[in-house]
């Protein structure tokens, strides 16, 4: 690869971000116990959670920012990955649950005698690690095939994905769906033999999230540089022209949809052990919309925008829910309206926006003079 000035700058930013990300677990492990530089385990897991959100936002950006498909079921894929991981974690509790049974507590409660067959393979961590990817991938493939085949696009695609989320969410709320009903999974104990509440486990989960974030970034930039990525952006800009040039846009869109679902699933799998539970509210339609807002705030179609958006919005959300519990929804809602109206390119685009404004002003002044 030729290192042009642009590329050098990108690699520089990438290394800087990687360094910053690794600062948090290092401070937690070796930093001081108190003072400005101290970093508690709670904060590490909090930031780990934000990072999984950032990955989720990046996966949506792949679809919305670069392919022009506004997908409102991203949180569904996220939750599916989370549920797959949750099944493994539930089985790892073993006989330490409230009912001292090898079955998960909610199953004992519902009167199950033995583990349902589709739960059996989740004793294996590696099967789980695979399922985290292929379960959301499969759902995306089936739905995407049906949707893209009948040329559902634009707004209709968004509405249908929202309906899909709604339907599956209703399903998970049911008790007899063997996924814990509206309580979902909680009360995890171990992951890969290590206690989930250990400081070192928290750190490792954070590091895994950070690595996934960096890998997702590499996938995104690799994709954009490839031919697939070029076609992808061409579809965003004008699908009809791509069609007329002889490309089957259906299969391109399907590949990207499945890839994006898998990334979201992996992010969900890392989210669950760090938060300590998952329930169907994680896949409500409103959550998917929130992800869209993160991307919009950060800047859609930019490489780091979604990450910045996800982290900033969530930090802001944490702050407002504490400071103004009654008004935070109004503040957030107002913020979304403002972002859409005044910052079409998001935070990342502000610099460009200001620059073009100034240039406009200057040219006006010169013409007047």
């Amino acid at each position: 690869m030729i290192l042009s000035a642009e590329n050098k700058k990108e690699i520089g930013i990438f290394c800087l971000v990687a360094g910053l990300l690794m600062l948090i677990p290092s401070l937690n492990a070796w930093g001081p116990d108190s003072g400005f530089l101290s970093m508690s385990s709670f904060q590490v897991s909090l930031w780990g959670k934000y990072l999984t959100y950032a990955i989720l936002a990046m996966s949506l950006n792949l679809l919305w920012g670069y392919t022009g498909l506004l997908c409102l079921c991203q949180s569904l894929f996220f939750a599916l990955g989370g549920y797959a991981m949750g099944m493994y974690l539930m089985l790892m509790i073993g006989e330490r649950g409230a009912y001292k049974s090898p079955l998960p507590d909610f199953m004992v409660f519902l009167g199950y005698q033995e583990l349902p067959i589709h739960w059996q393979p989740f004793y294996s961590f590696w099967f789980t690690a695979g399922a985290v990817l292929w379960v959301p991938g499969l759902v995306a493939m089936i739905f995407g095939f049906l949707a893209f085949r009948s040329r559902i696009k634009g707004v209709y695609f968004s509405i249908l994905t929202q309906a899909l989320t709604y339907a599956v969410c209703l399903l998970f709320f049911r008790n007899d769906f063997t996924f814990g009903g509206n309580n979902g999974f909680t009360d995890f104990k171990d992951i890969l033999g290590a206690s989930i509440n250990d400081a070192s486990t928290t750190r490792w989960l954070y590091i895994a999230s950070a690595l996934l974030l960096l890998i997702t970034y590499l996938i995104t930039s690799g994709l954009l540089a490839s031919k697939l990525g070029k076609v992808q952006q061409a579809i965003r800009d004008s699908e009809n022209r791509v069609l007329f040039s002889g490309y089957s846009t259906t299969s391109f869109k399907l590949v990207i949809f499945v890839l994006s679902a898998m990334i979201a699933g992996a992010a969900g799998a890392l989210y669950v052990p760090q938060v300590g539970g998952i329930n169907p509210s994680a896949m409500e339609a409103a959550k998917s919309l929130e992800v869209v807002v993160w991307v919009a705030v950060g800047g859609r179609g930019t490489k780091w925008g979604p990450v910045i958006g996800a982290i900033l919005v969530n930090l802001f959300k944490s702050y407002t829910t504490q400071a103004f519990p009654d008004y935070w929804l109004i503040i957030m809602g107002g913020m979304f309206v403002c972002v859409v109206l005044f910052m079409p390119d998001g935070i990342v685009g502000i610099y460009q926006q200001i620059k073009s404004k100034i240039a406009q002003q200057r040219s006006l002044q010169t013409t007047e003079a």
Partner: protein
């Protein structure tokens, strides 16, 4: 009345009967209070007063129902008035049968059914006596049914057989369990081939058949009314989304505005004229247009400030209106509280219309009527008025309409306001069958979008048909699959339907590439 309670012995028994013949429901209430020891005498300055201690911890004058403020000292001087044992007993059966003499035919039917179900011998004379003087045909039927059910338990073999045959003729669903019991008793007595057993078995078959027909009619009716609700809620969306291209995620909140406006109007009427007054019945008639205007006004404001920047940017409109929906939801919570508020049905919407034994609630019928009205008025507005012409022109081609001198900005605001107003109309109607709360619109929003997509965007006829279709499919699937699985199946049916007809029911033909 006061005479009665203060009288003694035989006089009391005679008076009880006499007063009961007035048939006023208040009498039952007072009797009940007296029987359980809730009536007191009080020696006041103006003479002896009869008081009743109500559930609200207030002293009420028995004769007029006025609240009497009593001081602590006075309260101590109040004496409990006890009814003697024989009086209590005769009162008990009078209270039970008093319902038969009530003014309201529905109350009479209810009490007849209740008495029949209890299968007590002592009610039979009362029922028979009432049958002779009962003017209403429906009540007569109910009493006959009650008598037959009662005889199933109490009559001799002959009477039982006659009763079973009567019930077969009446296709009485209420009697099913009782006939089963008779059949079981006959079988236990080794008379499975006896005339009574055979008649019972036959009766069960006939009733079963009848139940099936009723169930079918029931799901038909429910499907129609679910469809009507969907139709009213989604018609506004068909206009804002279908015609204008604005994905209004706040549509559900406009539905809630309708519900809350109805609530406010109701509260106003309640404070002004009281819950039981004649005027209160009119609140719903007032609240329907008012909620339309309220939401249309807010919609107009929203269009002028925010929405007008979002034409031709559907995805941005989705995000922006979602923000607006969050703000509005929290606004409702701050103003009305997070819990649902209570909206009462006006009296003229209570009860059922019963045709051939099949009953339809007035609220549901009213909703269908409103849905029909909405469709008709919208169609007239869009097809027969100047504004409608302008709306259609602007929606088809904004710039061309503008160059032809149509005031595009004004038409846009009017259209958006119309869509919001229709949503609120839906909310106002929904307040009669469901909860009014900050999230009330959210339940319908996904379904409404489906309706618009299936019905082909921008096609109001399509929206109407698809709303009805979704309502029917939903109600047909619900009995076998349950509400949740039914709903999920509907979604998958919709997705599969779009494989077959991607453009919905009535796709618009256009030469434009991006349609």
């Amino acid at each position: 009345m006061s005479e009665l309670i203060l009288a003694t012995g035989d006089e009391q028994a005679a008076l009880i009967e006499e007063i009961a013949n007035y048939g006023d429901p208040v009498i039952a209430e007072i009797y009940e209070a007296w029987r359980t020891g809730g009536v007191y005498t009080f020696e006041s300055d103006t003479g002896l007063q009869l008081l009743q201690f109500t559930e609200l911890q207030e002293w009420v004058l028995v004769s007029t129902g006025e609240v009497v403020p009593l001081s602590e000292a006075d309260a101590d001087r109040v004496e409990k008035e006890r009814a003697s044992r024989s009086v209590r007993k005769s009162m008990k059966s009078i209270i039970d049968t008093l319902g038969l003499k009530a003014e309201d035919a529905n109350v009479r039917i209810d009490s007849a059914i209740k008495m029949g179900r209890s299968q007590k011998m002592e009610f039979v004379p009362a029922l028979e006596a009432r049958l002779l003087v009962e003017p209403s045909k429906e009540v007569k039927q109910a009493i006959e049914e009650a008598l037959a059910i009662s005889l199933l338990e109490n009559g001799d073999a002959e009477q039982k057989l006659a009763a079973v045959k009567d019930l077969t003729k009446m296709k009485s669903i209420a009697a099913r369990g009782f006939i089963e019991k008779v059949l079981q008793a006959e079988r236990d007595a080794a008379r499975a081939q006896g005339p009574l057993a055979l008649a019972s078995a036959n009766a069960l078959l006939v009733i079963e058949e009848h139940v099936k027909i009723m169930e079918f009619l029931g799901s038909f009716f429910r499907g129609f009314s679910t469809g009507s609700v969907l139709l009213i809620v989604s018609f506004g969306l068909a206009i804002t989304f279908g015609l204008m291209g604005i994905i209004n995620m706040a549509h559900g909140e406009f539905v809630a505005i309708g519900g809350y406006t109805t609530y406010m109007v109701q509260t106003f009427f309640m404070n002004q004229w009281g819950l039981s007054s004649e005027a209160f019945g009119w609140y719903f008639v007032v609240s329907l247009p008012l909620s339309f205007l309220m939401a249309a006004g807010i919609g107009l404001l929203l269009e002028k400030t925010i929405i007008r920047f979002l034409y031709r940017r559907p995805l941005e409109s989705l995000l922006c209106t979602w923000g607006i929906s969050m703000v509005m939801q929290q606004g409702f919570r701050l103003i009305f509280g997070a819990a649902n508020v209570q909206v009462n049905n006006p009296t003229w919407l209570m009860g059922n219309l019963s045709v051939g034994g099949f009953s339809m609630s007035y609220t549901r019928l009213f909703i269908m009527f409103v849905a029909l009205l909405v469709v008709l008025l919208t169609w007239l507005l869009l097809r027969k008025t100047n504004l409608g012409l302008h709306i259609r022109a602007v929606m088809q081609n904004r710039s061309m309409a503008s160059s032809l001198g149509i005031p595009v900005a004004r038409v846009n605001s009017m259209t958006f306001a119309l869509g919001c107003g229709l949503a609120a109309l839906g909310g106002s109607v929904l307040s009669q069958i469901g909860n009014v709360g900050p999230l009330m619109g959210q339940q319908y929003i996904v379904d409404s979008f489906m309706v618009v997509v299936i019905g082909s965007v921008g096609n109001l006829l399509g929206a109407g048909i698809s709303a009805m279709g979704i309502g029917f499919v939903d109600q047909l699937l619900q009995p076998s699959l349950g509400p949740v699985m039914g709903k999920i199946t509907v979604f998958f049916v919709i997705i599969l339907f779009l494989q077959w007809r991607p453009g919905g029911l009535f796709p618009t033909r256009s030469r434009s590439l991006d349609d």
